[in-house]
């Protein structure tokens, strides 16, 4: 057979495909309307699985892989079309619109805020940067900070999410799946560690240094320069300072923040002893209510993906297609599930941009579960 003849046959088939594809999309639109009337999600994993199994059964062995790809794409296009018809993001779009309109133009200067730790903790430094005048209630752990805002004891909570040298605060990410909250602002705070001891204690007297494990890591160079001194990890830096202040011992010191000097009546033996000068921690400010303040240019979402090939790749390709930059992508294993993950996305886009809402709508349609965590700006 001549090549031209083969091409002609292909053309004929393609014409049929286009015709059938258009028909398929028309029916898909009717299904979208049905789903909207009955408040059903766009994605129906059971139907998709059955569909793929059915078409694969009919496919000759040699083409099975290709059929699989073709129908995955067909269904994805169908979902994308349905998503566009039913309004991108639906409830998320509406909630965002409402929040943008109803939130005060100014971020509050006074509030009751939940922080983990005790007075002098780094969360307090972040909190003082966010609020002019905060009534801080301190809690034993991060879990309680989330509970305190959920249960209305505090209006806001401040928790760390990542450190420039020690990385992600996994504990906080893991708690996000268990609580209802929104991110309303974030702040980057320079973390400085200082060696503090009781007045009268000299550098050469110090035999043991207490601090949080991360702080000890961040000051490893300074610590290894000291001879015969042991670093002892404890719950947090402020507690280390408090313990040193209250101990009868005169041979211990703490690595802690500057406010701890005044707070616990300590003396600063050495300033800024961290390894690098640009040691930053990012904190998020969380609230029970969705509040979106002017200038919000970051959006956070968390989601789980279908446990199948290429699902993350496909999701990322949507961001690429819509021209939305990804600031951070974090994955954490889900408890009691075998290698299934919760993904956290920080999207870099003004909340008012229409393609952000389209992106959220398409992401939602492609995910098993999807939670919008808020849109906010970061205080540098």
């Amino acid at each position: 057979m001549e090549n031209t003849d083969l091409r002609r046959q292909i053309d004929e088939i393609d014409e049929q495909i286009v015709e059938l594809f258009s028909k398929r999309m028309d029916i898909s639109a009717e299904i979208a309307a049905y789903k909207q009337r009955n408040s059903l999600p766009i994605r129906d994993p059971k139907r998709e699985r059955e569909k793929v199994a059915h078409v694969l059964e009919k496919t000759p062995e040699a083409y099975k892989d290709y059929t699989y790809s073709l129908f995955s794409l067909l269904m994805e296009l169908s979902r994308s079309y349905q998503g566009r018809l039913n309004g991108f993001g639906g409830d998320v779009t509406n909630a965002v619109k409402k929040a943008v309109e109803s939130t005060d133009k100014l971020f509050p200067s006074y509030a009751t805020v939940a922080c983990q730790g005790i007075e002098g903790a780094n969360s307090q430094i972040a909190c003082d940067r966010l609020f002019k005048n905060a009534n801080i209630l301190y809690f034993k752990d991060f879990d309680a900070v989330f509970s305190a805002i959920e249960k209305g004891m505090c209006t806001y909570g401040v928790v760390p999410v990542e450190n420039s040298s020690a990385g992600t605060v996994n504990k906080v990410y893991d708690l996000m799946t268990r609580h209802n909250f929104y991110i309303v602002r974030s702040v980057r705070t320079k973390i400085e560690h200082n060696l503090l001891a009781k007045p009268g204690v000299k550098m050469e007297d110090v035999r043991e240094i207490y601090s949080h494990e991360q702080a000890i890591n961040q000051c490893s160079k300074f610590l290894s320069s000291l001879r015969g001194v042991r670093a002892v990890p404890c719950e947090n830096t402020a507690m280390a300072a408090q313990m040193v202040a209250e101990s009868p011992r005169n041979d211990i010191a703490a690595l802690a923040s500057r406010p701890c000097i005044k707070l616990y009546g300590l003396n600063c033996l050495r300033e800024d002893v961290q390894n690098v000068d640009n040691n930053y921690t990012r904190f998020i400010c969380i609230s029970k209510n969705l509040e979106i303040y002017p200038g919000a240019d970051k959006t956070s979402v968390m989601l789980t993906l279908p446990h199948e090939q290429g699902s993350l790749y496909k999701l990322l390709s949507k961001l690429y297609a819509l021209g939305i930059n990804l600031n951070k992508l974090e994955s954490r294993p889900l408890p009691n599930r075998d290698f299934e993950f919760m993904f956290y996305f920080d999207l870099d886009s003004p909340v008012y941009a229409p393609n952000l809402m389209q992106c959220i709508g398409e992401m939602k349609a492609a995910c098993d579960s999807f939670t919008y965590l808020g849109s906010y700006s970061e205080l540098m």
Binding site: G117, I118, N135, L137, K140, A144, S147, K151, G152, M153
Partner: protein, 333 residues
């Protein structure tokens, strides 16, 4: 449930916690003692997240309170309550003797007795104007006139006056009375207790002769829950198998009530025994048991008294007893 705060907790933190608990629909009883602050939670505490409260840095500990009485519970208020009646203090180491006739009978009678008990060093004057008598044919008291005469006696002696209220309807007559007594028969007259809870008068609440300590405390709770925290508990004898004596004076109630509650506890040995010669030994035993005060009946002419003639002491007997009370108190405190 009670929440004990750490010493030196910042006021605005404490205030926010209290405000939040109130937002949950709970009553919060704030006790600010010298060494610690305790928040007593009243209401349905089952929905309160105990774990969240315990994880607050300002909280020392959170405890469930199983007892149904809250306001009068010592756990809500670790220090003794001191009640001030016209400068006379009772509770928290302040000892107070209330003495006077069973019933106010005449101006001459009440004045004579008032002068005599004052001379003996008593702190308050008691006297019945409304009398809850077993028989409707017995003397029922001088009523409004009785209260007027007590006020007269107070004018002359300066002794604050204690008298019993039996009915809500009589309350306006008690406007100028210092301490309102709820008698044993009315201990569970809950409507009366609620109304007294809305007054600002100290209430002397007597234990019913067939009531448990828990029931007594629940009655005090009625008064306190209605807003009046000035309650004095009184043990006045309970009905048992003991013959020869009118009632059995349950002195073990004194230390037990002190353990359970922060309210002052007084003892009435006159009604408990019903026999004048039994009053002095039981008075001294009550003092030894650690009571915060006594209510003793004294009559200038017991034999001819219009009520409870057998149990009232003469002024001379009372004066003698008063001296011995001081000796025993010295010995036990």
């Amino acid at each position: 449930m009670i929440v004990e705060l750490k010493p030196n907790t910042a006021k605005q933190r404490q205030d926010r916690l209290v405000e939040w608990l109130e937002e949950l629909g709970l009553g919060v009883h704030v006790f600010e003692g010298e060494s610690k602050t305790v928040l007593g939670l009243i209401g349905d505490t089952s929905k309160v997240d105990m774990e969240l409260i315990s994880s607050l840095e300002i909280v020392e500990r959170v405890k469930k309170v199983n007892e149904t009485f809250k306001c009068c519970n010592r756990r809500f208020h670790p220090d003794d309550t001191v009640i001030d009646v016209r400068g006379v203090k009772i509770g928290g180491g302040n000892f107070c003797v209330m003495a006077g006739p069973c019933s106010v009978e005449s101006e001459e009678q009440i004045m004579t007795i008032a002068r005599a008990v004052k001379k003996a060093g008593t702190h308050m004057l008691r006297g019945g104007a409304f009398k809850p008598r077993t028989s409707p044919y017995d003397f029922q008291g001088l009523k409004a006139e009785g209260i007027r005469l007590l006020i007269e006696a107070r004018k002359e002696t300066g002794l604050p006056i204690v008298t019993e209220i039996m009915s809500i309807a009589d309350l306006p007559l008690f406007e100028d009375v210092d301490v309102l007594q709820v008698g044993a028969r009315n201990m569970q007259n809950f409507d009366l207790l609620k109304v007294l809870g809305q007054t600002d008068k100290p209430i002397l609440l007597k234990r019913g002769l067939a009531n448990t300590l828990k029931e007594l405390l629940m009655s005090a709770e009625y008064i306190m829950a209605s807003g009046n925290e000035r309650v004095i508990l009184c043990e006045r004898g309970i009905r048992t198998y003991s013959d020869y004596m009118r009632n059995t004076l349950d002195l073990s109630a004194v230390p037990m009530l002190h353990e359970l509650s922060h309210l002052p506890v007084v003892v009435d040995p006159s009604h408990a025994t019903g026999i004048a010669r039994m009053v002095p030994p039981m008075t001294l035993a009550a003092v030894a048991a650690g009571c915060d005060g006594l209510e003793i009946e004294v009559h200038n002419d017991p034999k001819n008294a219009l009520s409870d003639s057998a149990q009232q002491l003469t002024p001379e007997e009372f004066e003698k007893l008063s001296k011995r009370i001081l000796v025993v108190r010295d010995a036990v405190t």
